[in-house]
């Protein structure tokens, strides 16, 4: 794995410091039904990291637990060796697109500016600097022309890119993305992937919850296979073996076909 990312002058951005993200024995339950069991996972270098698994495997829950959005029954998550609340401004988040009402009366610029609110704090309004940052972020995802458009008048792919631009405006060192490619057209997928690769090249860690096995092998440097428990984690080529996929997707007959295709394309990265 490459460590060519720029040294950001802060601890944790290269091997040797504390891991960028560290899940320790994380267990999460909704009511009495556990959805994540005893997950231990360390990511210690900037890379494109995929969290892969079948529907209902708890992938999104794992991200939400890391962000403190769902309570953990047990375990802990640390970023840069510290609890989240001490380093929140360095952790960016892209939620699933369906979690918000796109008929909300805000435009594209308004949403991207929300990425700057964390740093602004109470009562301060975004100013010239924040607007410039939001415009730059929109430019990176190819939506500079749509800044004034109401968010309901965007395609699904454009909406997803607005969410990505909002995360870029957070100027974080670790990015957590929840299914950013779900229901997104090819052009948006490519654009999103290009931005994620740029983030990695800048020395940032990008963690992506992803369901499509075919593209997973292509896109991610490292992956974790999750099916309520952690099945395997490590470099993509090592982890995505037929045996591991079998163990992850056992009982999920609907994806057996996809599994076969993924194994067939494994390692054929461009």
């Amino acid at each position: 794995m490459s460590h060519a990312g720029v040294d950001r002058g802060q601890e944790g951005s290269r091997a040797g410091g504390p891991p960028l993200v560290e899940f320790h024995d994380v267990t999460v339950a909704y009511g009495r039904r556990p959805v994540i069991w005893n997950v231990d996972l360390e990511i210690d270098a900037a890379c494109l990291f995929g969290i892969i698994g079948p529907n209902g495997a708890g992938k999104s829950t794992l991200l939400k637990a890391a962000l403190g959005l769902v309570p953990m029954v047990g375990g802990s998550v640390r970023f840069f060796g510290r609890p989240l609340r001490e380093v929140r401004s360095r952790v960016g988040y892209v939620p699933q697109r369906e979690t918000v009402d796109w008929d909300f009366p805000v435009n594209v610029m308004d949403v991207v500016l929300m990425g700057t609110y964390g740093r602004l704090g109470w009562f301060r309004r975004p100013g010239i600097r924040e607007r410039q940052l939001a415009r730059d972020s929109l430019d990176r995802v190819g939506l500079a022309d749509l800044a004034g458009r109401q968010i309901g008048r965007l395609s699904g792919g454009q909406q997803q890119r607005v969410f990505l631009a909002r995360a870029l405006a957070q100027q974080a060192d670790v990015y957590l993305l929840d299914e950013p490619m779900a229901g997104v057209d090819m052009r948006s997928q490519e654009q999103i992937f290009r931005v994620l690769a740029e983030l990695k090249a800048e020395g940032r860690l990008v963690v992506v919850v992803h369901h499509d096995l075919r593209t997973a092998a292509e896109w991610f440097d490292r992956v974790a296979l999750v099916d309520m428990r952690l099945v395997a984690a490590g470099p993509t080529a090592v982890v995505l073996t037929p045996e591991n996929l079998q163990r992850t997707y056992a009982g999920h007959i609907d994806v057996l076909e996809e599994l076969g295709r993924a194994v067939a394309t494994r390692g054929r990265t461009p």
Binding site: L67, R88, Y93, F104, P105, M114, G118, F123, P126, Q150
Partner: protein, 290 residues
Amino acid sequence: MTFAGLPYNTLVVAVGVAAVGFAAGVVGSLCVLRKRSLVGDAAAHATLVGVAGAFLATGRRDLATLLVGALAAAVAGLAALLLVRRFTRTRDDAATAIVIGVSFGLGIALVSGLPAWGYADSAGLEQFLLGHTAALTAADAVLLTGVACVATIVVSLLFKEATLVAFDAAFAAATGWPVLVIDAVIVGLVAVMVVAGLPAVGAVLVTALVVIPPVAARAWTDRMGTMLLLAGMMGLVAAVVGVVVSAAWPGLATGPLVVLAAAAIFGISFVAAPERGWIARRLRSVTRNA
């Protein structure tokens, strides 16, 4: 002294109720966008208990005392809503219906029972049911105006935070904002405006003043800030129409007139608004099919 044929007192009261209508539209917009439209209804129906309770506890019947009691009861009603939802695994809509029914029943029982229990001077409390502005004094109007101003100022201070939470609470929480606190402020403001609207519009209908103007305003604009202002203006107009018309026809309660005025504004918006209105949508589908 008169203005446009209205006595001075009616004029002052109209200003106070107009301020309340404006603030209710502004605060209600946040509530509607946060998808909590029924919160105001639960708070409103609980207020009667507080009006009667404040009278029983203090023996006074000045507006400030009664409204403090109403606010306490509104908050208690909302707390009851949270408790019912949490400890009985009742769904949101059912829990709201239960709290509305029970608290309103209790309030009606108290208000209607008081005279029979020897509180002859309790007459007038039942006017909080449907709203009755004729009895309001200039001092009452000043009080209502003050409350409306404070609520509007709080919204303008927290506009950024409230917008963030209403649009994407998960992102707000992930970036460190205390979503519960911001939600509590929004709901608290709704309770305050419901209580402030009580004398003019009454417990049964005041929630309409919090919900109808925001929904009507949304039809005209895609911008949050514009929507809040517009909802405020619509609430103001509805309130003034209600006060003036009920002053002209002494038999009419103010509340229903305010709500009917708001409903008229809503109807016009639904039909005539550009883009989102019925005519505009009709025209678009005609041009598409042509």
